[in-house]
């Protein structure tokens, strides 16, 4: 049984925050250009180096380092579209990137799951991806799908199985952060074409996009960059994500880490534009810290002030931005830390003008899935959404007639105005659900129950049988070719 389609609820704001001054943005951009020109970025890919060389970049074939002048960078980036569309299976869920609107997705790609039934911790699998896609499909806060965990029961072709599970369980846009390498990307493009119905629709309303990580400091991943070239060629959006860690793979100052990470992203974006001018490419930078005492990777320090600076840097380059939200270092949802670290995120990401944002629903720094966490993160998202909404000030909401009628003393319970507006006056989150004993229920338990309810009741419109079979055929071919290889 299919369930009702809930409209998306992206974050919309009528006021903005400019986090960095224009001068600071210029300083950062100049630093990036200087790094690209003098230090260069390593591209361990013959294909990429050849493209750069053909277009006039300075290529050192031995060290595989590419250096490029400012004019070269700016000219290449001039063909990158600032706004584009992320298509969905159902056009009502297409995401048109535009100012003032921020679309969120889940986190990915975790490797362990707290089992939906036994609540035991175990390696993640394809079935988890499908279930979480179905939950994400239901939530209006989730505008597009990231496969949340790895389909580890499918070995080397896990990434393709993840997108298969996503499309079979959600009508929303799917973005992968795991499909790497030329061959897997060709299969992914084939799958996207099946979803779109034709090459032409796939270009116009791409149902699939990809995020590729760079390697700090200043290196690209062979499989990542070669896979991205395949997608760019096919007109599917690709983004590059730099994750500089202060003090180990990046300078121990925030601005230095930002400039270096930016250089990694921009060098890859330039390559895409050289190869496929006009290809939709987006920008993403998520800095982290190395704990000076343990060397551990810390996603949230007490001073996380630059979390949304990259959004403005992306826009300064004229690129769309994938912002980073949530991704707590806490071990468990429902704990003080899991909210303390992230509660500000959706609000600030939207004020900074992020176009798309990841990612709700994982613990332990993007590695562990508790099914209920997405509901708790969704509650934080809704808080931000309401705070960003414009206040309605008009005769009806000012209610001066009612204030006159009640006067000093007394109460508003008997007023018509109260009856008409009372239900909308309190927006109830998971924190204010009343239990049978008349007390507020424990929010985490409310979230656990909601997951169960969604899984029992929400069944999105399935893919047409012929498309399902076609995806199966592509997966079988990929399994045969890639696993054998």
């Amino acid at each position: 049984m299919q369930t009702q389609l809930l409209p998306l609820e992206p974050l919309k704001t009528t006021y903005h925050l400019q986090f960095l001054t224009d001068r600071q943005l210029d300083v950062l951009q100049n630093a990036t250009l200087e790094i690209l020109e003098n230090t260069g970025v390593k591209f361990p890919s013959q294909k990429a180096l050849t493209i750069f060389a053909e277009h006039g970049a300075e290529v050192d074939w031995k060290s595989q380092i590419v250096r490029m002048k400012s004019d070269f960078v700016l000219k290449a980036l001039s063909s990158n579209p600032r706004y584009f569309l992320l298509g969905a299976r159902n056009p009502a869920y297409d995401l048109q990137l535009m100012d003032g609107v921020t679309y969120f997705t889940t986190d990915g790609c975790g490797v362990e799951t707290i089992d939906f039934e036994t609540r035991q911790r175990r390696p993640s699998r394809k079935d988890d991806v499908g279930k979480m896609a179905r939950i994400s499909d239901y939530l209006p806060s989730i505008s597009f799908i990231w496969p949340m965990v790895s389909a580890q029961d499918h070995g080397e072709t896990a990434p393709l199985h993840e997108i298969d599970a996503a499309w079979n369980n959600s009508i929303k846009h799917v973005q992968s952060e795991t499909v790497m390498g030329e061959a897997p990307c060709r299969y992914a493009v084939e799958m996207a074409e099946v979803i779109a119905g034709s090459r032409e629709v796939m270009r116009r309303r791409p149902p699939f996009s990809l995020v590729v990580c760079t390697i700090a400091p200043l290196v690209q991943d062979t499989a990542g960059i070669e896979g991205a070239l395949v997608l760019a060629e096919a007109g599917l959006p690709v983004g590059f994500l730099a994750m500089p860690t202060l003090g180990t793979t990046a300078p121990a100052t925030l601005a230095g880490a930002l400039a270096m990470g930016d250089a990694e992203i921009i060098s890859a974006a330039v390559l895409m534009q050289l190869h496929a001018p006009g290809a939709p490419v987006f920008h993403s930078l998520m800095q982290a810290w190395a704990d000076p005492r343990t060397g551990g990777y810390v996603s949230y320090s007490l001073d996380s002030r630059t979390r949304y600076a990259p959004v403005e840097m992306a826009h300064h380059w004229g690129m769309a931005s994938l912002g980073a939200c949530y991704g707590t270092d806490a071990h468990e949802p429902g704990t003080w830390q899991s909210a303390g670290e992230v509660a500000l995120d959706p609000y600030l990401a939207s004020l900074a003008g992020s176009d798309i944002v990841t990612g709700m629903g994982l613990s332990e720094t993007y590695t562990l899935l508790y099914p209920e966490q997405i509901i708790m993160d969704d509650d934080l998202y809704q808080r931000a959404r309401y705070q960003l909404m414009q206040l309605e000030v008009n005769d009806e909401t000012l209610a001066l007639d009612t204030v006159h009628a009640v006067g000093p003393g007394g109460h508003y319970l008997g007023q018509r105005h109260t009856r008409e507006h009372f239900r909308e006056s309190m927006v109830r989150g998971i924190t204010h659900q009343i239990g049978e004993d008349g007390k507020y229920r424990e929010p985490r338990q409310v979230a656990i129950d909601k997951v169960k309810w969604i899984l029992e009741n929400h069944h999105p419109d399935p893919l047409e049988p012929e498309k399902q079979s076609e995806l199966q055929r592509i997966l079988a071919a990929a399994d045969k070719e890639i696993r054998r290889g």
């Binding site: 006021y15 986090f19 600071q24 300083v27 230090t39 390593k42 400091p217 200043l218 180990t248 793979t249 300078p251 121990a252 100052t253 925030l254 601005a255 230095g256 400039a259 704990d291 000076p292 810390v298 320090s301 007490l302 001073d303 996380s304 630059t306 806490a330 704990t335 003080w336 909210a339 303390g340 509660a343 500000l344 609000y347 509650d379 808080r383 931000a384 309401y386 206040l391 309605e392 000030v393 008009n394 000012l398 209610a399 001066l400 009612t402 204030v403 006159h404 006067g407 000093p408 003393g409 319970l413 105005h417 507006h421 009372f422 006056s425 309190m426 927006v427 924190t431 204010h432 929010p443």
Partner: protein
């Protein structure tokens, strides 16, 4: 042994936002003026009614309702200072309300405490006020102290005992929200005099301020107004807070609740300015939302935390500083909910330019003290403080030379720049504590231990003996008068 009080770290935002449009602020202000002129405020104090009548208010002495023409309101409000200083025992801890910084206080005035030793829930007592004053004296996030719970072991003179416990255990500014009525206020002002040393210092750097609640809808509390008038006369800052409840004591719409609450606050501020032009006052708009099924006052529904930053913009429209609502969770224990509810509201209050805010450290909608909650809230506070502080893009921070030296591949561990700057990167003292055997410790447990550590180790500079004796004498005569 005396220990030093760490410097204050107010939130100094590098950038600001404006939520309401000018036209919306105009609409809201006009509505407040219309309510004051046409509906009026119930004001059960002969003294206050006379002041209103003498300064152009239209007073119905039988109904005890005053109506205020717009011109009278605006004239009175024109005397209220936009900026001033709230003093502390040590001038280095003075709060400079100049629009550049947000200072936060603890919450108050809870009525129950999770015992520091037994962890059992029990009624609060004077000793809790002193212990928490000492804990918060140590925290750089706390700019000033609200006696966090009620000194219920001194039922008749609790507010004065709360001040005694506060002044004796923190060198920071103290703000009471319980001193009510002329009788109590006179003793409180005497205590402030002891702290200041003389009248001039008391007026220039007032060590004590007062917050008074109005009664929704559209009524004032007699004791509250009369104590506020005495405080204002003495040059001590007074603020008025409306806690109108959407749907029960206020209209069921946000804009309607805002203007009703604003009218209550403004009527009181007008009274203070009529009686003592130029007296330092502040505006505090903290409405809640009534739970439609339980009738409870909720401060943190998905929508209602917008009230507090909106209150800041409304206060500034009237040309007075604000005490914004920050923290004050509806959660029953410190945890996910208390953090979830606090963060973006605090950030928005800072970005809209709030000067002061309360309060950290209580749960159950400002009723219950968990000693560790203030540490958890302080951690959230510092996250917001850093987030609001802007980015350093100096040449040293961008570190191009270091990036060039390391080049592609390699790492930054061996760089001098890393050694110098890595220490400046702030990891949370609560979430970043490594656990034996790997991983990190539970931050709530770390917070509990830290409270214990502070209580055992932090002993702020005490009041001089003569001041201690003088305050004890004042308390004794107050107790005697009340036969306590």
């Amino acid at each position: 042994m005396i220990s030093e009080t760490p410097c204050l770290q107010p939130i100094k935002p590098a950038y600001h936002v404006k939520i309401l449009e000018e036209s919306q602020l105009d609409q809201l202000q006009s509505a407040t003026l219309e309510i004051l002129e046409q509906v009026g405020i119930h004001c059960p104090s002969e003294k206050a009614l006379k002041i209103f009548a003498e300064h152009g208010g239209k007073v119905d002495f039988t109904q005890q309702i005053v109506k205020l023409p717009g011109a009278v309101v605006l004239e009175a409000m024109s005397h209220a200072p936009r900026f001033y200083t709230m003093g502390a025992r040590d001038p280095a801890f003075d709060l400079i309300l100049d629009g550049q910084a947000l200072y936060c206080a603890t919450d108050g005035c809870g009525v129950e405490t999770i015992d520091f030793i037994t962890r059992q829930r029990r009624p609060s007592k004077k000793e809790d006020v002193g212990t928490m004053a000492r804990v918060t004296d140590y925290l750089s996030a706390i700019g000033f102290y609200w006696p966090i719970v009620s000194a219920q072991d001194y039922p008749k003179t609790a507010p004065l005992h709360e001040l005694d416990a506060s002044f004796n255990h923190t060198i920071k500014h103290v703000q009471s929200e319980t001193v009510m009525g002329e009788w109590t206020a006179r003793y409180a002002i005497e205590m402030a005099d002891v702290i200041s040393g003389n009248e001039q210092v008391r007026r220039q750097r007032p060590p004590l301020s007062l917050l008074v609640c109005s009664i929704a809808p559209l009524a004032q509390d007699r004791d509250g107004l009369e104590s506020a008038l005495l405080f204002a006369q003495a040059g001590l800052p007074v603020g008025f807070m409306s806690m109108a409840n959407t749907g029960s004591t206020a209209p069921a719409t946000i804009a309607g609740t805002l203007v009703l609450a604003d009218a209550e606050i403004i009527s009181a501020l007008v009274l203070i300015q009529m009686a003592h032009p130029g007296a330092p006052v502040f505006h505090s708009l903290m409405p809640g939302v009534m739970h439609p099924r339980t009738g409870d006052y909720l401060s943190s529904t998905l929508e209602s935390s917008s009230f507090y930053p909106l209150g800041t913009e409304i206060a500034h429209r009237w040309g007075v500083p604000t005490l914004a609502g920050v923290f004050g969770t509806d959660a029953q224990v410190p945890g996910w909910q208390s953090a979830a509810e606090a963060e973006s509201s605090l950030m928005l209050c800072a970005l809209t330019g709030a000067e002061t805010g309360s309060g950290l450290g209580l749960v159950e909608s400002c009723m219950l003290l968990y000693p560790e909650a203030v540490l958890l809230d302080a951690d959230v506070y510092h996250r917001v403080r850093n987030e609001a502080a802007g980015l350093d893009t100096s040449a040293e921070a961008i570190a191009l030379d270091v990036i060039k030296e390391v080049g592609p591949r390699g790492h930054f561990l061996a760089q001098r720049h890393t050694r110098i700057n890595m220490r400046k990167r702030l990891l949370s003292e609560l979430t970043g504590q490594p656990k034996e055997g790997g991983g990190y410790r539970d931050p709530v447990e770390v917070a509990r231990e830290k409270v214990e550590w502070i209580i055992a180790n932090h002993h702020p500079k005490p009041l001089e003996q003569a001041q201690q004796d003088e305050i004890s004498r004042i308390l004794k005569s107050a107790d005697k008068e009340k036969q306590q």
